[in-house]
Symmetry: C2
Subunit: 202 residues, 2 copies
C-alpha cells in the first residue's frame, strides 16, 4: 500500500492527520505539484483527474478522493472512530464533514484557485468568483464561531474528520489572506485546540 | 421521521431515488424554494444554511446534506447496498460518488447558479465562472463516456449512489442547455438505463 502525497496541498494533509489520529503509518510517494507531476501520464493512469491524495492498495486498486481514502481506513481500523458511530452518529459526522467542505474548505480553495499566482496559466481563473467566495467564507467563519460557542468540536464532543477538514481548509486560507477574525473567540479556541494536537503537524 | 423535499431541486431528488431503490417510504414536507421557504427562520433553525433535502428524525435530530441522509438509510437498511460493501468496496463507491459530485453535478449546478435567471438577485452571480464550469463539464462528460465504455454503471457492475448523483446532475443541466453529446454513445446507453429504472421518477 502507498499514499501519493504532497506537503503543499490541503487535501493530502487531511489524510495525513486522519492517519496520525489513528496511529496508522503508510508509505508515501511525494508528488511535486509545482512540476505538475500529477499531470504526467503515469499518474493520470492511476487517477484520471490528477488529484492527490491517492491511495494505491497492494492489489493495484487506486482510491482517489480524500474522504474515500479516510473511509477505507475507518473501516479497516475503526478505533478511534473519526467518522461517527452508529447510523445516526455516522450521518451527523458526515453532515458536518460536508458542511466544513462545502461551506468552508472548498470556498477557501476557490479563492486560491481563482486569485493566486500559483494557478495563473494553469487554469482559467475568474478573480471575481474568488472574491464572491471570499465574502461567503467570511460569513461562514463567523457562523462557525457561533456554532463552536456550544460545541467542543465541529460535530460535537469528539474530534472527528469534520475538524480535520475545517482545520486544513482554514490553514489553506493563509496564502490568500483569509484569517480567523479577532472577535471569533470560540473559533480561535477550537483552532488552538485542534492545531496543537500532535496530528496537526503530520 | 420526515424529509423536507422539493420537486424542482436536484439534491432532494437524489435522496428520493435512493429511497425508491431501497423501497423505503418516508413522509415528506414540501418546501417551496421559489417562495424562499427554506430561508425562513423556522427552517433555518433546522438547517442553518437553508439547504434541502433535510431529514428530521423522531428524536428531533436534523440531518442535512444529501449523502449524509443516504448514509443514514444505508446503515439502517443495508439492502440493496447502494454505497458499496466492505472497506474497499465502500471506498471505491465513495470515490465515484465524489467524482460524480465534484466533476459533474457541482459544476453543472454552478452553471445554473451563475447564469440562470432563477438566481438573479438571490446570489451574486458570476456568469464568467458559469461558463468556465460549462467548459469543464463538457470535458468531464466526454471522459465519463469513455469510462462507461468499460463499465455497466459508474462505479462498476452495480447500480450505486454514484449513478444517482450523475443522473440528477446531468438532468439538472437541461435548463442551462447542458446535454449528452450525440457522439457519447456509452454515456447515452448508461443514461437510458438509469433513467428507465422506476426510481428515476421518484
Amino acid at each position: 500500500m502507498k499514499l501519493y502525497d504532497s506537503k503543499i496541498a490541503p487535501n493530502p494533509r487531511r489524510v495525513r492527520i486522519f492517519l496520525a489520529e489513528k496511529g496508522i503509518s503508510v508509505p508515501t510517494v511525494p508528488i511535486d505539484l509545482a512540476k505538475a507531476e500529477n499531470r504526467k501520464p503515469e499518474f493520470l493512469a492511476k487517477n484520471p483527474f490528477g488529484g492527490i491524495p491517492l491511495l494505491e492498495l497492494d492489489d493495484g486498486t487506486c482510491i482517489a478522493e480524500t474522504v474515500a481514502i479516510c473511509r477505507y481506513f475507518e473501516r479497516t481500523q475503526p478505533e478511534p472512530p473519526l467518522m461517527g458511530v452508529g447510523a445516526k452518529g455516522e450521518a451527523v459526522v458526515e453532515m458536518w464533514q460536508r458542511r466544513m467542505e462545502l461551506e468552508v474548505a472548498f470556498p477557501i480553495m476557490q479563492v486560491f484557485r481563482n486569485t493566486h499566482d500559483f494557478f495563473k496559466g494553469r487554469i482559467p481563473q475568474v478573480p471575481e468568483f474568488g472574491e464572491v467566495c471570499r465574502g461567503a467564507v467570511t460569513k461562514r467563519l463567523a457562523w462557525l464561531d457561533e456554532h463552536l460557542a456550544g460545541s467542543s468540536f465541529v460535530a460535537g464532543d469528539d474530534f472527528t474528520i469534520a475538524d480535520i477538514t475545517a482545520l486544513c481548509g482554514i490553514d489553506f486560507g493563509k496564502p490568500t489572506g483569509i484569517r480567523i477574525a479577532p472577535e471569533s473567540k470560540h473559533l480561535a479556541r477550537w483552532y488552538e485546540a485542534v492545531s496543537s494536537r500532535p496530528s496537526a503537524s503530520a
